[in-house]
């Protein structure tokens, strides 16, 4: 009983484990001959065949082959599936609704998850009366700090503070109102400002007095008679130092005609002082001989240098221009502050001047026309600047030292055609955030503070249906900007001003700004989020995680954005159907190239080894033996680690482990053909070795080669999937194996069957198709396999 070789036994070598009937073929002894009976070939060879004749011969053979092939049902099915995949690969863009870099939008992927808490009802105060209460969140609040309380004050002289605590409990985050303090304060407050200073203070203004109230209990700590009623207040300059009793706290206020500065210094405990000292100075704008009457129209800005240096100033926007008042800080030789007064005007820039210089009309805007760059001076120029946003959409940077214009830039860009800036704020990351209205829509943009141009090459801006309400916040941890619009929608934008998520106000209009509450992590550490809180006019406190609960991978279906995901999404939000279709291309390329490579190599080795014999044969056969007995996967992993994961390397690795089987079989075939009559005839008629191999042996070996190629494709697809699954795949390209690997790595294996099944089915089908074609072709080549 002879052991016959058959191609079905060879290809399992490429599959992972226990290749059934794997290497039987390599023990081959007698290969079945392929085609034309020798006599016919000998007759044909008396004339040296030209290529034309070869082609004709092939055409006849192809037709005969097809006739035989057609008889096998599985062969036809395999061929059909194969062409189906080729069609899919070619027409991929038409078959997929999205492109390869599509990511599901935030509204599909995030689930807004509100927590709400009704405001406590208090007998003495109606907390839900919006006409009475003004809700505040502490200013000077930067992204990482946790909001502890939400404060409201009423003009009738009482204040309310709700301590807010977001706690993580088990797997949920709970909102807790920890305290509810309300207190009558002995002032009729027209304005109350929380100020971040040493456990926080409130500054409250009544008719003509400034009150300092403690944050915890609203107790009056100090009361300074001002003699005027301020409507604007500046930033706080805090140089207070407890350790050495030096320093001071500075705070400026203004109304339309008066500018005042308030300062307090720590007690000198060295000489036994117990009380803080307070100073107050005010000036009237009309006392200065400014061209035409001016009124103050916006918030003063305190620009400060160290106490020792001169040059601290208060910059004030007026109706005709910007005025910089010198701040005279009188200190003792040891550095203690003695007195603080407002000094002379350092410089004064009129809007008309700016307008004249640039030949366009500049009109001042009523609210907050000015903002300031970061407290640290610009690294590039070493200058601090006042930035003026004008109503014609221009930004001007005015040098603090002499009032000269550093730069002016227009905000006008393709998407912002008539920008009317309303507010400028310094951003923690160094540029400026500008909000305003343009053509009836609100906008927000980031602007480089050294040039005034919109960052991101003019692309970092975002428009929304209504105006931006209040001041945008920045959350450093997730690089998000975060603000509310006047209609009550909350927006979360990425650094690049791209929308990450937006949520409608949860209930009623907003009564307060949304304030960032910090990063909350639950006890298990399994989830965390950046939370923010807001109060609505309906009397509820809402907190929400910045982005809501993350829901990807999404099961197939239709989603709020209107998108339909046929096979759902993966953990990043990419559409599975799209990935599946486009991966077909890579798979086909990998399979075919690897197969061609390995088969060409194997055939050459087999032909050479079989024909020449002798030493070449022995050496080559030992080589093939080694490659046949290597544990493939194990060494392939090592090789992939050495070469690095890339598609080319994967193809190479597959080819390296596949050529040996082909070589064996081709060699056996060559051996059997070598001794036939027609070869002798060729040699006698003077053909060189090379031409014998190429013209006579190769064409006869070709069907076998083709057969192996088909099987190798089948195996290559599976091998590539395995290598990708184990982590050695090319991260740049998408193949079905990589899809499964991402699935495994993201830990969703047991949770996302829509992600698990399609790639595997695709791999199976494609591999199966080639295998069936191979089997059917095997029946053509090997007549004994055909049905009797």
């Amino acid at each position: 009983m002879t052991v016959q070789q058959r191609p079905t036994d060879i290809d399992p070598h490429l599959r992972e484990e226990a290749p059934p009937g794997g290497v039987v073929a390599t023990k081959a002894v007698e290969p079945p001959p392929s085609e034309a009976p020798p006599e016919k070939a000998a007759v044909e060879l008396l004339t040296v065949p030209t290529w034309l004749k070869v082609v004709k011969r092939y055409r006849k053979r192809l037709r005969a082959t097809w006739r035989l092939y057609r008889q096998s049902k599985s062969g036809l099915v395999g061929l059909a599936i194969m062409f189906g995949f080729v069609f899919v690969a070619v027409f991929a863009p038409f078959l997929t609704p999205y492109t390869t870099d599509f990511v599901a939008p935030a509204e599909d992927v995030f689930l807004a998850d509100w927590m709400r808490y009704p405001l406590p009802t208090n007998a003495s105060i109606n907390l839900t009366d919006p006409s009475k209460l003004h809700w505040q969140t502490p200013e000077g609040f930067n992204g990482d700090e946790q909001l502890e309380s939400i404060v409201a004050y009423a003009t009738e002289g009482y204040a309310v503070k709700l301590g807010v605590d977001l706690r993580a409990e088990k797997s949920a985050i709970l909102i807790n109102i920890t305290s509810n303090q309300s207190r009558r304060i002995p002032v009729n407050t027209s304005l109350m400002f929380p100020v971040k200073f040493r456990g926080n203070l409130f500054f409250a203004f009544s008719e003509d007095s400034l009150y300092e109230l403690t944050y915890e209990t609203f107790t009056v700590k100090a009361n300074v008679s001002m003699g005027f009623h301020p409507t604007y207040h500046s930033n706080l300059w805090n140089r207070w130092s407890n350790t050495n009793n030096l320093g001071a706290l500075f705070y400026a206020m203004a109304n339309s005609s008066t500018l005042a500065v308030y300062s307090k210094i720590p007690p000198n405990t060295n000489i036994g002082e117990l009380q803080e000292k307070r100073f107050f100075d005010k000036v009237n704008l009309f006392d200065y001989n400014l061209t035409n009457a001016s009124e103050i129209i916006g918030e003063p800005i305190m620009l400060h240098l160290s106490l020792a240096q001169n040059g601290s100033m208060i910059v004030v926007p007026t109706s005709k221009g910007i005025v910089a008042f010198k701040l005279d800080i009188n200190t003792t030789s040891s550095g203690r502050v003695r007195n603080v007064t407002i000094g002379e005007i350092m410089w004064y820039v009129t809007y008309a001047e700016i307008g004249e210089r640039w030949d366009r009309e500049v009109t001042p805007i009523p609210n907050r026309p000015i903002s300031i760059t970061k407290e640290d001076p610009s690294e590039e120029t070493g200058k601090e600047r006042i930035i003026l946003a004008s109503s014609n959409g221009w930004l001007y940077a005015i040098d603090r030292v002499d009032g000269s214009i550093n730069w002016s830039t227009t905000l006008v860009t393709t998407g912002l055609r008539e920008p009317r800036p309303k507010g400028i704020y310094p951003s923690i990351i160094g540029d400026l955030v500008v909000t305003g209205m343009s053509e009836g829509r609100g906008f927000i943009t980031t602007v480089d503070r050294d040039t005034g141009t919109i960052t991101g090459n003019g692309t970092y801006y975002f428009t929304l249906p209504t105006a931006v309400a209040g001041r945008p916040d920045y959350i450093p941890g997730s690089n998000n900007y975060f603000f509310t619009s006047e209609s009550g929608t909350i927006y979360i934008l990425y650094l690049t001003m791209k929308l990450e998520a937006s949520f409608a106000s949860p209930g009623g209009l907003l009564a307060s700004d949304a304030a960032y509450m910090g990063n909350i992590i639950n006890n298990k550490g399994t989830s965390s989020g950046n939370y923010y809180a807001l109060v609505t006019e309906d009397g509820e406190v809402f907190t929400q995680s910045i982005t809501g609960a993350y829901r990807a991978p999404l099961p197939p279906g239709k989603y709020p954005s209107g998108n339909r995901y046929l096979l759902g999404t993966d953990v990043f939000g990419g559409d599975i159907w799209t990935q599946l279709i486009y991966a077909t291309r890579t798979e086909l390329v990998v399979g075919l190239v690897a197969a061609v490579l390995s088969v060409v190599l194997g055939t050459l080795v087999g032909l050479a080894s079989g024909y020449y014999g002798g030493w070449l044969d022995i050496v080559l056969m030992r080589l093939t033996d080694i490659f046949l007995t290597l544990p493939i996967l194990v060494v392939a992993l090592l090789l992939a680690a050495v070469l690095g994961p890339s598609i080319g390397n994967i193809i190479l690795i597959i080819a390296i482990f596949s050529w040996a089987g082909v070589a064996r079989v081709i060699r056996a075939q060559t051996l059997s053909l070598k001794n036939r009559a027609f070869i002798d005839a060729a040699r006698v008629s003077g053909a060189s070795n090379w031409s014998i191999i190429m013209r006579h042996l190769a064409p006869n070996v070709l069907p076998l080669t083709f057969l192996y190629m088909v099987f190798t494709v089948s195996g290559a697809i599976i091998t590539e999937a395995i290598l990708a699954f184990l982590g050695m795949g090319d991260a740049q390209s998408m193949t079905w194996g990589m899809m499964l690997q991402y699935l495994r790595i993201s830990g969703n294996t047991l949770r996302a069957p829509w992600w698990l099944l399609p790639p595997g089915i695709a791999i199976t089908l494609l591999s199966l198709a080639f295998y069936m074609v191979g089997r059917a072709f095997d029946e053509v080549v090997n007549p004994r396999l055909r049905a009797r």
């Binding site: 290749p19 059934p20 009937g21 996967l633 050495v642 069957p753 049905a787």
Partner: protein, 322 residues
Amino acid sequence: MVNWPLVKYITGKLLQTFITLLIILTITFWLFEALPARPYDLLTQSPLIRPAQKEYMIHLFGFDKPVTERFFIYMKNMLTFDFGISVAWGVPVSDLLNERIPRTLFLFGLSVIISYLLGILIGAYIAWRRGGIADGMSVVTSLVFYNMPSFWIGLIFLFVFSFKLGWFPLTAWPQFVPYTFFDILHATFLPLLVLVLLSLAGTILLMRTSMLETIGENYILTAVAKGIPERTVLFKHAARNAMLPVATAFVISLAFAMGGAVVLEQVFTFPGVGLLYINALFQLDFPTAQATLYILALMVLIGNLIADIVYGFLDPRIRVTG
């Protein structure tokens, strides 16, 4: 009377195997050399490590010696099975291997045996009934399973049977000591099932093809014409002869089974040699990775050697001519 041709054949194969082993060892040594990392890299990542400590590490692993000297040390160690201590786990590599090799052998050995026994029977039967429904269906099913990526079908089984239905544990080895043989069977049922299914597919296809060829032989026709009962012809004449390539394939499969362990052990978290290899490779644990590779290659080579020897005994041509 000594069968000289056979002895010559066997000795030749032994020599071949040994040379192949040496060449494989050399290739793997150079591959490890070519890796862009060294075993001490992960250990010396921390900036707190002082240069002296790093140098000690280098010396410990012998990387201060020249390459050729290291090569000969490596060869000597491998051939004497002196594997050293694992970098990642801190225990002698031989301990790790001794613990894991039996497990992998058990899993894959058992699966191969079962699948071949079943495969021979089923393949023989359906080939005899060529064209019947059983034939068509078995062929189609076998084809499909043969072309399925094993890890994928493993994941699906995990999902359905372990996760959804909870019949089997997610990790394919008993968690609690002491465990009985039954516990092992229960835990390893899923990987066994997957392996048997996939192996069965190929075996059925192979056996069927082999049977079809055998049935085409004249002596079968004669036997049937002689009136020998169908059953007897099927099993005693056809199957026994058709079994030959399958039997050889069986031995080879055992040999290659270990090599393919890597993927499935990863999927089922089966604590065997394959998983050891992957973990060692990713943690740059050279001693363990090299040793594991060596053992796997050795097993495959020995398996092939045994197959060749068995073949030598069975194939009369070799017995006679060598």
